[in-house]
Symmetry: D3
Subunit: 252 residues, 6 copies
């Protein structure tokens, strides 16, 4: 049986924190940490929508993911300097955007656009799941801001729920929750699971890096993931409650 | 309950065919059709490996996916003309490569590289799953060619198994196998499942396009998918057997 | 005197076929083969014209040429992956577009655009001349489709004639028609000739690869080319007649 | 006479802080703030030099500057997504690199490379001067690290001095030190001054945005700048001393 | 004390000439030479302004700098072929544009755009300062042309003054004016100074290439530069006067 | 019958001049003018060959063509700024390179490379033919330089002959030699012909812009072209003789 270097049990998350209001400029922002993984999420609200959506009375939510060059153990060349965005970066940006849109009521959002930027300041495995978890908090704050500003006036709430994500994997036949980099490179299977706050699935991406996985192993991993995102949902709600309590005047 | 436009049952594949030996130049090739979806798969064998793998006594298998501009209902601008490969294209190319590598014994392959090109000639949903299913046949033929040529001399077989893939989805609460384009755009959930010939999972990618999906729905979809890839595995084996029978002389 | 590997006489075309209606989606399509050279030509009809032509009551016809990565004896890297279209590809795309436009009455076409894609599935010399010959057939079918649909309503025909193309070359002092790859690399001069169905010239591109050529040699090559495109014109007309006979119902 | 919105005198810096050791991975790192401007500086040390410098027994120091998309009041599109680095970004990257190299003894550095990344997390004017000031601290820490690791073994110190930078400008005839964004856009002249710790000039870049400036005004601005960088030099030294005291064990 | 290879005194310009009317097409043009440095400056006048300036009753002036591949001692690859403009080129283009705009009254210019292209035909140091000096002459001629054509009709003059630029540097403790390439590579400090015809500063860019420079050295260099641009201003005026005398008919 | 705006007869060249030694840096250079078309040709000689030619004891000659932005009547955006080389530019660069290589004995050249840059300073039709005609002179001078320098030591001459080029066209049924821009846009057919000094063909590119052309018309155009390049050959030889007489000392 595999023993984790940080002494966690198989079903335990790393230390998770979500610090809101980090950016002086963004309409919503949060720094999320999953252990040593640290992602700055800023939600930028702008009135109007992309050209292809004009006149449809619907809003748009999208996301962009990136890593600072020295977020990783050795320096990675900037994508701006290489002149193109890697397949991995695009894949993760698309995943975050899709996950957020799964809980957005674009009609209630009105013809407004929210872009959530997820910049990995420090990486230690699970950057995409931390990004999704933090991005939803930044998004929720930006939506709240727009309602306070009366830019969004619909009575329906633009967010139909919350979204959180976590990684799971198999190492030496053991299913493990929330893998740091060191475990990630050793895992036979690597799976990212995105759920709603109600525990239903938004996205499942499981990959056998070394060994194909069985239906039984899949079930074990899904059990861990669902429990993990439930815990992350609580942490998200606590972060938002703290904001609500800290700023009573602004919200009335 | 949802009725399919082509009168298939929920658990039925479209008409599937795999025609090998299509290319005069490639070391392995196949045209695979899933209904109206048609993908040309060519496997190009070259001696030597990419620079980062040199001197490790291991081979490399990778894949590239692309669509002809008029594979689709309306013309799509060429990625070469736009000057970059889209996120979707890269994502699928990476998926195919990963899926193939899951059954490749790179040591037995020796310092050789196989690139499998999957060019969608005509698209009607499920292009990535058809591509994986056809790509494995092209790969198997290229490996066979290299063994016949004595370029690969290892006694161990470079392929540890076979790979097939199929899409599943949920429409109006019904789980359906192998969605054509028309069903794909209506589906609440869209899932691509890649398995080995033994029915173990290599990759699961499930996305809630409209509605989050429950654990029960996930299980229904996985059941259909596993049965589907089992049937595709039979069709792959039949295509390879036909080649083996047609070319007895070459193999001795 | 040079003897051809495939036993053709100097003035003989390779086996040529034009199979129409290959694509389920395109408004006009044809697969053309010149021996082992095989090009898929699809004509995409769209209403409207590029911005610079708006409001001039004229249509637009253009073409794009490309090769699949394993159309050739060894794999060629994709232009989409390299991030730019090669000079050769652009040169051929421009040639095909110019050749087609030479027989298009853009006023009769109305403010509509036809893009003809020529994708080389398999290459064995003469891909650009095969592409022009097939592209015209796909174009003619797309024009016919638009007239059947009453999208083009002018009484004047949008096509003022037909276009066919063939290569000629000099090897060891002998002028040869329709060179396969093997002859192409040996030729002292390589010339591509595009003519109308009436045998007048649309384009002549002759290049001395090794040895400058004399006026006499030029005349010999032109004689072969004009006879060759006359024969290709007959094959084009036969292919279109077959379509007309096969689909009487649709055309009424 | 111009009154500053933040009640500073004309010759006063904004609140400046330099927090070292911010990154878990980088060999040297610092977050520098000049008021609301916040820049993360990470120095990445690698053995070896770029190809054009090989075999010359000299090291290399370079820098890259970038802004996070929502560092600014409204979101800026990523340079990676636009596919190229803007002229402004390149200009600043080159300025930072040149400024650092002015105090680097490349022979004492040995055949090693240090890349200093300056990522603007939040912007409020003076990002390039904050970046230079923080970059030097990160560089000094990386050099210290390499000496502790005995990777740099020369007895000569690789750093011949320190570097700090500050902006000055003219508004309504008054020379002002360290302009925030609000003052920067109003200034007639904008000047960035880089000096050594000894107060000699490394770089002067003065631009008349609105009104040409006189020799007298230039002298006023230079006086302010030299006093400003002297104060910044003290803050840099304090930040490094704090590190030295905190990690006595490592340095012995 | 440093002796100059071309026997000039420290405060002497190289031989400078400005030949106007060089281009048959451009609205204003000049070839400027500073010794062996030769730059072709063409000013292209077009009615209308960039999108972001529309409807503001103001014009726009911008500049682009480039070098022919063999302007230099050894051939430099074309930026068009490399697919991007270098940081150096962008930096200089921005400098020229900024310098010209410092003397443009954009309101008097009306909604018109002038692009000044500075193409270095031959390079021997000081290309950016020669370019600015020649660009202003081409700009003045294009403005004059537009007033003759009655395209610019404002009574206020669109040019509020003239602009000239020169390089200065320190070699072995001596301040020198207008450095050729040979001196430029040896200089400890390299400074480019742009002034108005009245001798006020528009831009100062000083860089310590080898040795930091003192306030005293800075003052010596500025003295030389101001005297140098005063002389260049006279040469610019003489070039324009020659045009005015040569074309009396056109101007009445 | 068509009357030419410049009163030339149908078979007359525009005023042609070739001025050698224009560049201070290039190993060979010439400015060639055909009427108002003016092209600067510089030949850069470097020892060594591209990687794909190493170790074959053969040299390489290539060419690059470009236009300055205001060479034309209205300004054209720079290809460097647009980030890619247009199809037209690549096509002409390839044509010039091919034409020069037709008279190069690459074995006699040794493992050396000559790049000929053809930059159009002013354009008025026929830029590619002027470029070829001037490029050969620059190439001949660079070869001569390398033989004088004893870098090329073979007894065989690296140039087996000379190359010149001219345009011909049909307007209103009349064949015309050397078309300026004004005639070029009116021509039904436009043809560029490249010949050796002996009058044999290296390249023929004829395009029916409006009307297909007959064999008779083709013959008329070829007659004009061959006479035209014969006259250009004389002008090239005169330009080279002038150099030889002017620099007797250097050649001994």
């Amino acid at each position: 049986m595999f023993t984790r270097a940080d002494d966690r049990t198989a079903s335990q998350l790393r230390e998770v924190s979500i610090e809101t209001g980090w950016s002086a400029h963004a309409e919503g922002s949060a720094i999320v940490t999953f252990g040593n993984t640290k992602v700055l999420c800023t939600a930028s609200f702008t009135e109007g929508v992309p050209r292809w959506l004009k006149g449809k009375n619907r809003g748009w939510v999208t996301a962009e993911y990136a890593m600072l060059p020295r977020a990783t153990g050795s320096r990675t060349a900037r994508e701006s300097v290489r002149g193109k965005v890697s397949g991995r970066t695009q894949e993760i940006s698309r995943l975050i955007g899709r996950s957020l849109r799964a809980v957005v009521n674009t009609k209630a959002l009105g013809e407004n656009t929210i872009v959530v930027d997820c910049d990995v300041i420090q990486a230690d495995g699970g950057t995409r799941t931390a990004a999704i978890t933090g991005a939803w908090v930044a998004l929720a704050l930006a939506v709240e801001w727009a309602r306070d500003q009366r830019i969004i006036r619909s009575t329906a709430t633009p967010l139909t729920g919350s979204v959180a994500a976590v990684s799971v994997g198999m190492i030496d036949g053991t299913a493990l929750l929330d893998l740091p980099y060191e475990e990630d490179v050793r895992a036979d299977t690597d799976m990212n699971v995105v759920t709603t706050g109600d525990g239903e699935f938004i996205e499942i991406q499981g990959t056998a890096e070394e060994q194909p996985f069985s239906r039984t192993q899949l079930d074990e991993m899904l059990d861990l993931a669902v429990a993990g995102t439930a815990r992350l949902t609580e942490i998200q709600q606590a972060a938002l409650s703290a904001v609500a309590q800290a700023q009573p005047a602004e919200q009335e």
